[in-house]
Symmetry: C2
Subunit: 364 residues, 2 copies
Amino acid sequence: MALTLTFLGKGGTGRTILAIAAAKQLAASGQRVLFVEQDNSPACHLLLETEVGCDPTPITTNLKAVQLKSAVLLERSWEEIKKLESQYVRTPFFRNVYGQELGVLPGMDSALALNAIREYDGSGDYDVIIYDGLASQDTLRMLGMPEILSWYLRRFRNVFMESDLGKTLSPFVQPIASSILNIDISGDTFAQPTQEMNNILDQGKAAVSDPNRVAAYLVTTQDEVAIATARYLWGSAQQVGLTVGGVLLNQSLLTGSITEAFDPLVVSLIPQSHSPNWQPIIDALPDFTQAQRAPKPINIDVNERKVSLFLPSFDKKQVKLTQYGPEVTIEAGDQRRNIFLPPALTGKPVTGAKFQNGYLTISF
Amino acid sequence: MALTLTFLGKGGTGRTILAIAAAKQLAASGQRVLFVEQDNSPACHLLLETEVGCDPTPITTNLKAVQLKSAVLLERSWEEIKKLESQYVRTPFFRNVYGQELGVLPGMDSALALNAIREYDGSGDYDVIIYDGLASQDTLRMLGMPEILSWYLRRFRNVFMESDLGKTLSPFVQPIASSILNIDISGDTFAQPTQEMNNILDQGKAAVSDPNRVAAYLVTTQDEVAIATARYLWGSAQQVGLTVGGVLLNQSLLTGSITEAFDPLVVSLIPQSHSPNWQPIIDALPDFTQAQRAPKPINIDVNERKVSLFLPSFDKKQVKLTQYGPEVTIEAGDQRRNIFLPPALTGKPVTGAKFQNGYLTISF
């Protein structure tokens, strides 16, 4: 199992450069590193000073890089699905559609990227995977997928499966889900692939919420818009259960008021430097394996009947707590999070909520 | 019907600032302008120097701004769907799920944003809509949706509807599509809502491919990575049928080699300036109603049996032409485009293809 790192910040603050520097640092220290680039423009070729393919390409000792191409990933997934379809559907209707025809719709990039990371992680070939996304908000949507998709499945399964339609639909829903998530369906019953999908999502959730498996670092400059964006992303990351390990203040020699804005995170000062002189940047990077020292997004205390959510950068009126369905829902940073409670607290009504020092504490 | 403008470029090149300047310019000239911000961080509040809500908020004379919140838009769509569901399904299964619970999955932001723009466009309240997206690649995925989703519907409908499953599925697929696209289902037959959805997609396609309705402008600085990204986005925009009207060279007094890199587009030099001094930027902006002078993404000549695709910035080996299915597929810039041919050319085999001066010319 690899450590997956990602860098969040406003565009133009140097996220990609710092991600490459982190990859170089970790590779130099003996870790087997894969740099995963979501952007398909030639920008990363310029920064890596070499062409990168859509399969891992060796860059230097211990360092490989891959540029994800959704059109290619979708084509590969589709061909898998067509093979599997015949096992599930009496009259296969996908066989006449070719993977080479399929266009890329919004959301597919994230789903295909997450699946690619999952496969690289599972390959055992890498100790560290560095994911360089497009907009950081997209990266958060992607990392939130296992939890949110699990919720949709959990919430809709009962209401849905009880209906006549649900029973008929199962064989259809499965291949679609598979084509996106590339799930290996080996059984011949419906229960089995559903269970397999749940397992994959559960594993994804477990990984995202474990700072020894997945961690993010904020990138900002001294620019006020960049700082406001980084702070917003800090809060938003908590909403997908992602630990933010620290702050990289790029192109700066003084922290100024930054330390206060991101308290209690450690701020690393990254001096300005230009390719090919990566060393001053590499030397200034923090130890990326220490993300678990940062505040955890969620703490559940069953004895005290309290759930604590770390929601920095938001004020009280930006956080909404509701209990419409069977779970407690937190809305903040244009994301909703349904808190999956342990059995002792499940279904219990909320008796109080307090927002203090960036923490929302809910009592049951 | 409004003119929708968007700005494509690498993050940090000043896209949002130029989008706001364009909004101010057009509002000052008497156009009723709506500035639509996808980013939910407080960055745009800082740049607009005021709070912006998730419904159009007046900024100055003729200028309103809105910050799209996917969680809110999804909640509103869902409540609509629940009302409509009862008309279609004997045992409504959505009624027990609340819009306030729904998390945002990848792709929903783009689908909800496109629908919001469609509604603002249809309201008749605006002459110009300026959309400021997150990553420009996301904006292209969003604007490519009507064409690509139409293709999926067209391609899958026959193979699918002929199957037993397809007949049973119809009432299910419809509410899901509706919840995302917010289609008003008023009829009680299956054919009608499908037709309505096709109409919406056809209208979307027609709008995106008409430079008097939707146009993009590239934003770059003199930085080589920014230039490479802008050139890549220029080519990629053609793949969704979007006309790129010109180039804004930000924070620069000299064009240098830029004119050549973006030939035949007009390059506007935008001087460096800081808020609140917007006037030097506004004065340097081009006339945004002249996008139709730029090269069209596609030209079909039925008499000559030729289709010409404008694919600047790509070289021959980055463009793939295939004819697996019933249509001709072009792959470039991590997007596939299935060319919808007029009846005279439909189903005809490709007899030749030539890539010259940025144009791919296909003969039938």
